[in-house]
Amino acid sequence: MKRGLSKKPGKGGRAGFILFPAVFFLLGSLIVLGVTSPFLQTFGNVLDIAFLQESPDFDKEAANIYRHDASRPDGNEVIHVDSADMPAEGEQFGKIVIGSAQIDAPLFYGDGAKELRRGVGCYTGTYLPGAGRTVLLAGHNHTFFKTLGQAKEGDQVQISTSYGEYVYEITGTRVAYATDTTAYDLTREEENLILYTCYPFGSVGLTPERLFVYAKYVSGPRLDWDYD
């Protein structure tokens, strides 16, 4: 006689088919989380930075936050950055005019290939106009800065931005190698402007030399970054 035949087989514990797998899943997840928690704690903050608020739109053109007709402060007043229309990288935020060199070009925040194809780029490793430090602007010598060589000492450089109007006066020019770090001082603690482009003009190919044009601050609102 086979064991168990005297007793009717029960269907027994149908809920177990749902309950136990769920419990196994929870226990397994706890074990995995427990083992990986040191790594998660270390990289958790990095993971937050690794994701955006929404998926990127690569076909969208970078914003232009500069409006030609808007009125902006142009004196020596102080404006807080929170009330100023500050640019994000890649955005057009102004324009640069050097009348004596027939330069009138859009101004972008960033000096990558995209920005320099469309105008003059502000190096993001330095400061924006009004920050009281060095502003470094670049342009291609075959496009927007092809006449920069005509700018001379005493000429004015007008930079119109989304948050203020600035005027600088050219104090000198210099031709130097791109690797010559004495050609520019990015640590100066007073507002100053440096424009640069490849040199000589009209050459084909890339040359190691650059034309640097230096200018001092004349007028324009100061940016306040303090949060007291």
Partner: protein, 308 residues
Amino acid sequence: MDQSRPAQPETARKRISLLLSFLLSLFASMLALLLVLQCTLLNEGFLRARMQESQYATHLLETLDMELASYGDASGFDEAFFTSVVSPERVQNDLNQEVARLYGNTSAQVDTAGFETHLYDKLLENIRARGLEADEQTTSALQYLAQSCAGVYESTVGLPLLSTLTPLLHKLQTVSLIGLGAALLLLAITVVLIMRINPSRRRRLRYLLYADGGAMLMLLVPALVILFSGKIERVGILNKALYGLVTAYAGHTVLYLLAAAAAFALLWIGLFLLRRHYFKKAIEAHERHKEHKRRREEVHRSLQGKPF
């Protein structure tokens, strides 16, 4: 029944079986994850297919065209010139080389020198066609331009972090194969133990079903969470080509996890139907036993009190 095995209290047997079932679910999900790893991250064909699907080469070419056109703006060459110099075939060939190098199937790198020479020749050809003089200063400037553009080409077409990833992938392959072997062995041992502890076929299948269900959930739930969280689409990669590749790669990896969960689901259905089959057979056997017992009692009653 095995008379040599000491009798175990039913509760203890159930607890041990549940523990073994839990371990089995862990080993099964580990095995499935390692198999998914073999089919995705450790599979060269998977990366190639994702590159094809995300049009990686096409987007790279767009980036290259823009970067080189910017060099053109700085050096007196127009955009059309650089667009004609960089061919889709060259980019695709170099990409194929990079993928093969990533998986250790070649040591050849992106042909930067070939690109530089090709570009320099084209630059010279262009300035001569424009009637410009190719003096020493100009040829030097052109060489510098070709060298700089070749650097851009290499950094654009070359796979990021390749020299770091290649040895890591090799180590991962070794670890994965060892892990697969270990998971299979542990899985087999656990199954055998469940069979040994539970003489009843239905009981054995019950614990196998628990394990299978647990393994299925361990794959299904994280895959669904990743899929519906939208994290993949929001990954912070601002390079169009790389973004497309990474999102396609991650998306398909999640699909492989879901396929593994589906395989466990099918197995669950099979085991469940088998258990139900055994249950029906047990019911039939019980009914036959009851009938047999009833007939014996009838015969016994009819024989009682009859004189010989």
